[in-house]
Amino acid sequence: MTTPAIITIRGLANSFGEDQQVHEGLDLEVRRGEILGVVGGSGTGKSVLMRSIIGLQTPDEGEIDVLGENMIGRDDLDAKNIRRRWGILFQNGALFSTLTVAENVQVPIREYFPFIKPPLLDEIASYKIAMSGLPADAGPKYPSELSGGMRKRAGLARALALDPELLFLDEPTAGLDPIGAAAFDELIVNLKQRLELTVFLITHDLDTLYAICDRVAVLSDKKVVAVGTIEELLALDHPWIQDYFNGPRGRAASAGLNKGHREA
């Protein structure tokens, strides 16, 4: 393997309470510069996996290295330097509801770089907002005044505030209409290429998987059962993977992609 790993997870175990084991002996590697899609049935712990990586959940066992540093047991202050190298888009945007979109984007910048003057901060916020594909008048709006798709874009603008190397997206296209979802996919690919991002993407959206993911990791039976391109996964004989990609929706998404290729 030539590309170095940006996230390495070994033997991860997570559980809630006594008898609810979410992960057990989970291994995963995310390579620099790729878009890794993470799929799995509801309740297989996709979000828990993301929360473990970004340090919101302390795993029972296992090792997690992000950007070459061990993440387990680091206190907040210590991990700050790693934290500013990643951006996270939560499922519902998790925008601060009492701040405007522009102020939301500025929060991480103010936190880490308090010496940047307000006029420059405003300029930075404005080009980040434009980069995320929001209209020009979105800056002074409050999250409650935005539509679902715009809220996701605003969340993305905040995630990109510090020019991260690593971007975590938790179901970015969930709840968007197909056109909006496709536009969002395109936006992510564009940003990834322009800004040389590595993207860790949790999704249920087969179209997204086919359209933008370089590799896909499948979560099942408390671990990652397979990682690879969709063609590689299709060649495997795992029942869940077969059901997932060869179900009616999977076939439709794959057909749509092939059609798109032919036309292009």
Binding site: L67, G68, R85, S97, T98, T100, A102, I109, Y112, F113, F115, I116, K117, L120, D122, E123, I124, A125, S126, Y127, K128, I129, A130, M131, A136, D137, A138, G139, P140, Y142, P143, S144, L162, D163, E165, R194, L195
Partner: protein
Amino acid sequence: MGDDQADSDTRRESESDAVYRMTGSLTITRAASTQRELDAAQDPLTIDLAGVKKMDTVGAWLIHRTMRDRQAKVVGASPDVQKLLEQVADADHPTKVRPEQRSAPMRALDELGEWVSEAGRTLIGLLGFLGAVMIGFAAVIRHPKRFRLNAVVQRFDLVGVRALGIIGLMTFLIGVVIGQQGAVQLEQFGAEVYTINLIGRLSIRELATLMTAIMVAGRSGSAFAAQIGTMKITEEIDAMRTIGVSPVEALVIPRMLASVIMMPLLSFFAMIMSLLGGGIFVWVALGIPPLTFVQRIQEVVPITDLYVGLIKAPVFGFIIALAGCFQGMQVEGNSEEVGTRTTAAVVQSIFLVIVLDAVFAVFFSQVGWL
């Protein structure tokens, strides 16, 4: 790429045609100082990016705005850097960041106007809400099957039973305080025995009910506003409506009933606890035995005092529930609103309770219940 803080060095070399040479990494970490240095450089300016090892969008933005505003020339940009410069140039749209600001006097007028219209809207809204509650009550009376007994009983528990401890303790102490203060003052006239009159009449006529109302407003009125407000934000109320459940019947009426019915009961309990506190105080401090205390209370406190205290209680309960539920229903938009509405509910209900208490005091005196 990982060495953000590595030997980055951006320095100015004063050559004749003001060439600004950048080396090392030009990222957000150095944004403030780079901006300072660029601002200090003289026009016409040429920026040499040949030595830049790493650049992010913030660095690119700083270069881009210098090019845009001061017609600076950029030389020596590597393909990567060039690409990044184009990216930020692409994203350079005039984007509004702040809401428009007006001059101070206009803003003051604006705020005043908003306050007045908000007050008017609240008043009309309250009236409308009152109407909706009345209609809800009428509907429940006409169709008793729609009455939610379980919800009401649960509210009884939350509003009434669980408040017993804190209200009991509070009014017990109030009884002690009235006794103590009364005794100190009346002792000067050798009339300590009138302390009992003071404790009895003040507790039963005024303080027990008033303190109970304030405690219920703080405990339950705020909870009503916060619960309903949160349900409003999470669209539970909308869900109820679409299913066909009336939020007034399901949420407001049980809370109203609970607080209207529980207030007199709690007030009565508060009266007893207050008398108990006062009685124990006079026994310990003034040496008046409990039996005498009870006898004196019977003699000096007219039964109308009890009526006065108990008639006020359900009215206060109604006000508290009305303010709490109304403010909860007014929540819109964000989570901060839940907090401000909850505060408003408590402030309004306590204020209205005290205003009404004054009205009642005058009324009952006029009626002849002295």
